[in-house]
């Protein structure tokens, strides 16, 4: 039974229904308790999900909400990871190195955002692809800074004298940053900034005639997205404990885009769902590997092919991603037994040409 709204303020609240507060509170309590109840392996897996989720939120703001496709976002993960690790190794305290890594990565976001302001969809995607490749190559060559192929060990962070180490340490760090990032993202979405981004995504010309400065907001979007992804990168560094430049290449970028896509473009829930999916997929495959028929499980290259297959199936049959399905499910339950079949059938869409012919 939903409540009736009696003031505009209610629409602004993060949790519009009292039941939401209950359920999310419960979720948080469960998440906080996990390191005490599950084995280190699962704690590690969950940390990985959190880190991917943070990066997912970052990319979702850029791609899902502003409509700017980035195929090179792993570069920001890398920049954040290395910035944090390098600062820590120079003796900078963690409480400074972490936000600094975010800011440095945000600056990198501005660096790629500004030259690409006039680029549309496809060209922007290719430009970010090139950018990602360049960052990795620079990382490999600038051995004095990054240690090149030898890698860079990530020092253990300490806060107020306590060393944050072990799977639980990384877990709580990642969870904390995730909650923070999600709150910031929600603040963005209920403010003029969020609306401006969505406007840019749906119609740049209209957005301009409403007074939205495209250059400014696109740059802000890049900066915010990169900064958040940089934070994820820093945490990633603590998760893997040892950094190498080639782990931040196109494969990781594609994984990030998949998170955003499979999760459902344009929804924060989607970023989390997608992250859970992509992060846990390798483990899921490993579990069922032996049970697959025809010895498929023993083939090398199973993982990327399943990855690809899922991507293809999702786009063909549920382009709104996991979040899309989730919304449909909720609507079905809420309307049952009065739901109409037609409401859940996908509308036929027609190709809209971008060309002026």
């Amino acid at each position: 039974m939903s409540q009736f709204k009696t003031s505009y303020e209610q629409d602004l609240r993060l949790a519009t229904k009292r039941s939401d507060v209950f359920w999310y509170g419960l979720l948080l309590a469960v998440l906080l308790a996990i390191p005490f109840s599950l084995s280190e392996f699962y704690v590690g897996e969950m940390s990985f999900v959190f880190i991917y989720a943070i990066a997912g939120v970052g990319l979702m703001l850029l791609t899902g909400y502003t409509g700017l496709v980035s195929l090179g976002h792993a570069a920001f993960l890398g920049i954040g990871a290395y910035a944090n690790a390098i600062l820590l190794s120079e003796g900078v305290p963690f409480a400074v190195s972490l936000p600094a890594a975010g800011l440095i990565t945000a600056a990198a976001g501005v660096a790629i955002g500004i030259p690409t302001l006039r680029m549309t969809g496809l060209y922007l995607a290719i430009a970010t692809l090139a950018f990602g490749a360049i960052v990795v190559l620079v990382g490999e060559k600038w051995t004095s800074l990054t240690g090149g192929f030898d890698g860079f060990p990530v020092p253990t962070p300490t806060v107020l004298g306590f060393a944050i180490e072990g799977p639980s340490g990384v877990y709580y760090m990642a969870l904390g940053i995730l909650v923070l990032v999600v709150l910031v993202a929600m603040n963005v979405l209920r403010a003029p900034l969020g609306r401006a981004l969505v406007a840019i995504r749906d119609s740049e010309i209209s957005a301009q005639s409403m007074g939205i400065n495209l250059a400014f907001y696109k740059t802000v979007s890049f900066a915010l997205s990169a900064g958040i992804t940089g934070l994820a990168g820093a945490l990633f560094g603590h998760y893997v404990r040892h950094l190498a430049p080639d782990s931040f290449g196109i494969l990781l970028s594609i994984q990030l885009v998949t998170i955003v896509f499979i999760g459902g473009l344009g929804s924060l829930h989607g970023a989390i769902f997608g992250a859970a999916f992509v992060a846990l997929l390798p483990q899921a495959i490993a579990l069922v590997r032996d049970d697959l028929p025809f010895g498929i499980g023993r083939l090398p290259g199973l993982e990327p092919s399943l990855f690809g297959l899922i991507l293809v199936l999702v786009i063909m049959f549920e382009p709104h991603g996991i979040n899309g399905r989730w919304q449909k499910l909720k609507r079905w339950f809420l309307a049952f037994p009065l739901h109409k079949r037609a409401a859940f059938r996908r509308q036929k869409t027609y190709a809209k040409t971008d060309r002026l012919r």
Binding site: E9, L12, V184, A191, P192, V198, A199, S206, Q208, M210
Partner: protein, 266 residues
């Protein structure tokens, strides 16, 4: 306000695309508070003029002035803050947002809260948001679209979308409203409603309106003055009856009969 040049004025406006002269030597003034219609056959350059005013195109020649300011080459996003709003011929709404969100985006040019405050959702942000909401709701009430408030534009019928387009422009609290074919795609009743709204916008809100239109009934009903264009040049300028009776105008419409001078709606 100076007497010779109007509230809004175009002087020797020209737009050339390669060898094509879409608009050539167009000059006109619009008085404050009037409804000024631009008519002409397809390809006459009407929407091109609008696109120049809202700075989608930069004029190849001539100048545009609004409220004493030269707006010929200012940045496109600054138009809204100056008080000029427009609707688009083919509806450029934000389709993946709700009606309310579209209207709230229309409030953007009145948003002054810094980005950092927004990220932290400070009380100042909250107050500003409630105020924006209040004003958007006023527009919703004016246009009577309450029941569509939370629906995605993608799910709304064409007639409603046209109204939302108008509402979004109104949310910017414009002094000058550019309506690009407000009746296109609307049936008779919807067009009559549109006529009422244009009258209300002019009388109650005191907004000056420049309108591109094909529907002569609508033009005759609401316009104070009419400008007729053909092939980028001015044919006639005057009251609706004068322009529709002008032989040049009649010829431009290829023998089309002008509408008999109808009574202006009371």
């Amino acid at each position: 306000m100076s007497g010779s040049t109007g509230y809004f004025s175009a002087r020797d406006l020209a737009m050339r695309f390669g060898g094509i002269r879409a608009v050539e030597g167009v000059s006109f003034d619009v008085r404050r508070g009037e409804v000024f219609s631009i008519i002409g056959p397809n390809g006459a350059g009407k929407t091109t003029i609008f696109n120049m005013i809202s700075r989608i195109y930069t004029p190849s020649g001539g100048s545009l002035h609004f409220d004493g300011q030269d707006i010929t080459s200012i940045a496109p996003h600054k138009i809204a803050r100056l008080g000029i709003a427009r609707t688009f011929q083919n509806i450029e709404l934000f389709t993946n947002a709700t009606l309310l969100q579209n209207l709230l985006i229309g409030r953007h040019c009145h948003s002054t809260v810094p980005i950092l405050s927004q990220l932290l959702h400070l009380p100042s942000v909250r107050r500003a948001e409630v105020e924006h909401r209040r004003r958007a709701e006023a527009v919703i009430e004016f246009l009577n679209v309450q029941r569509y408030r939370d629906q995605l534009i993608a799910n709304l019928p064409y007639g409603v979308r046209k109204v939302v387009e108008l509402g979004r422009a109104l949310c910017t609290e414009p002094k000058l409203l550019l309506l690009d074919e407000p009746s296109s795609g609307l049936n008779v009743e919807e067009t009559e409603e549109m006529a009422f709204w244009i009258e209300d916008i002019k009388k109650d809100l005191g907004i000056t309106i420049i309108m591109v239109e094909h529907d002569m009934k609508l033009v005759t009903a609401v316009s104070d003055r009419v400008l007729a264009l053909n092939q980028g040049r001015i044919l006639a300028l005057g009251t609706s009856a004068e322009v529709q009776g002008d032989p040049e105008v009649i010829r431009a419409y290829i023998g089309g009969e002008p509408e008999p001078a109808a009574e202006v709606a009371a």
